[in-house]
Symmetry: C2
Subunit: 345 residues, 2 copies
């Protein structure tokens, strides 16, 4: 089976400089991959000139004349950029010429356009942004990370269910433990919507384990964490911020003087092994769950290594047909709910 | 001037084991300090027996027969624990026998009891929990960290003002730059209450610089960040969680085999210097801003070094008379507001 993925080649802070080498690396790693580079054709061809080992039979260029700016309003991008690399890449998925789209472009525009072009799955209120994050054990899948501000209880429960299906699909050997992000003060514990989501989740067959707090995210004691997009974004960005600060101070400690620099040289292999463990680039590639097709958002500032990881995430989700799995599971739950309501009547 | 601080000696996960040595260290560091250890008198005396260098003229014991449990409901603690070490310590502050209270006990109970015993400053809607956090530059003061879930726009603006007064009081050489925590997507930027808070802050004389995102917390580009207690708690705990995970993987990298362990031994002084820079114990001690007196909350799991830092925070805030400064500044702003409204009429 060939997996065809449309790449928004112009998206992200660095565009082709990142997307072209990442795409070629992915093609050379996975023989089952066919990539469609969407964007400014002459520029793409120019960028390919300097590259080696191009598997031309598994690489297509699809012309698109516009680019969505990183700070463009989603509504404007949707209205005015109908021939953007982002839009055309999504159109290819809609037309079944590709099974997934990967973009490092404007998150809001990508979500708005993806919802418009590909549509939300039946029964799903709102798609959510989900990513794997490192923990001291296995990765945890967290959603929503910014698509929905002020999601209601039902949406939160749906996020949890979609996350659980994703985790189960990618790791068939586990029964994913699912938590809701909350804070610890007993009497004021969280917003009403979180309490409602908890009630709803207790009625589903998913393995809901209860509330988790911010510091639980990285402990590896749950496999899925559902939250409102505002809260998830705050948690994710705060974590990124503190990780950058720690890495700054670690580097500074070794750069202080000649002696510490020499120690740093000796410690380099150990520090390298450590960095590989917590390298956020290994986790680049967030899934837009709840859409009818696979859409993967790369960090806008991703380098080629990180963008390649987003392509890998897209490939895996296509291989496992994640959107269909979510559709089937949600339909099953909704069906059970209807049946139990009918029985109660 | 002698600074008298009431210590909830029984509070926290470890109680006297932490509070006694921390108190004695603080007394031996600051000659202007007088501490009142509040709690089970025989147990306190017993704990003091094993200690050396006790400045008995600056140490008092105040008996209290009860202890608030770490998971006790705040309302129940308030109702049933009128002779708890926490309550008696706050009573001492109310009676002007102490100028501040430091507790590592149950956060919700401490806030509820402090509000009841000491009262909120005139004009302040709700007190907020504020702590200094490390950045790659100077520390940033962040509030609220969990006292208020669903704070409205006016409360958020008050948090920003209180934080600004605190930063200005403790660092008279700076004009604190104040930001509101938000997320980055333009069209859905944050909750309405954050937009309202921004409008309100633009009308005040404080140096409001705009929205900041989670990853900005640790960049040091603002001195004060105001947010809802839910969001602040998520940001703080997520940051703690990722910092612990990073430290776990760093240790693991050096413990992998004999060679890496030897490298670790050589790198130990560098790693120690690095750890000191990001050690959260240096930032232990959160202020309850908006009360009529100083109340400092230590992390429940604080060790003696961290708890001593909370005592230092209390001492500094008493020295600078933070509650009066906040009271005066809020009164001045409210006054200006009334005057400008009168002029408009």
């Amino acid at each position: 089976m060939t997996i065809r993925i449309a790449i928004d080649a112009m998206g992200g802070d660095k565009g082709l400089e990142v997307t072209i080498p990442a795409s070629l690396n992915a093609l050379n790693t996975f023989a089952d991959l066919h990539l469609i580079l969407v964007g400014d054709e002459p520029k793409i061809k120019q960028a390919l000139l300097s590259q080696q080992a191009i598997p031309r039979d598994r690489l297509t260029i699809q012309s698109a004349s516009q680019v969505v700016d990183m700070d463009e309003l989603p509504s404007q991008a949707l209205r005015n950029k109908k021939d953007s690399s982002m839009r055309v890449a999504l159109d290819l998925v809609k037309q079944d010429q590709a099974q997934a789209c990967v973009s490092a472009g404007n998150t809001g525009a990508l979500m708005a356009t993806a919802k418009f072009v590909l549509k939300t799955l039946p029964g799903i209120h709102r798609p959510a942004i989900c990513t794997a994050l490192p923990t001291i054990k296995k990765p945890v899948y967290m959603l929503d990370l910014g698509a929905n501000v002020g999601a209601d209880g039902e949406s939160l429960a749906q996020f949890a269910i979609m996350g659980s299906v994703l985790a189960k699909t990618l790791h068939p050997d586990i029964t994913p433990r699912v938590g809701l992000l909350n804070i610890g003060e007993e009497e004021m514990k969280g917003h009403d919507r979180i309490k409602l989501a908890q009630q709803l989740l207790r009625q589903t067959p998913i393995y809901y384990v209860g509330y988790v707090e911010g510091d639980d995210i990285f402990k590896g004691n749950v496999d899925v964490i559902a939250c409102d997009g505002f809260d998830g974004n705050i948690a994710l960005k705060s974590s990124e911020g503190v990780a950058k600060m720690i890495s700054y101070y670690l580097k500074q400690a070794f750069m202080r003087n000649l002696v510490t620099k020499l120690i740093g040289l000796m410690a380099a292999p150990v520090l390298k092994a450590f960095k590989a463990k917590v390298d956020p680039r290994n986790y680049n590639g967030a899934s837009f769950l709840g859409l009818r097709k696979c859409v993967i958002k790369s960090h806008g500032g991703a380098d080629s290594f990180a963008f390649e990881n987003a392509i890998k995430v897209a490939r895996i989700e296509v291989l496992h047909d994640v959107p269909s799995r979510i559709r089937d599971e949600v339909a099953r739950l909704l069906d059970e709910q209807t049946q139990s309501q009918t029985l109660e009547d």
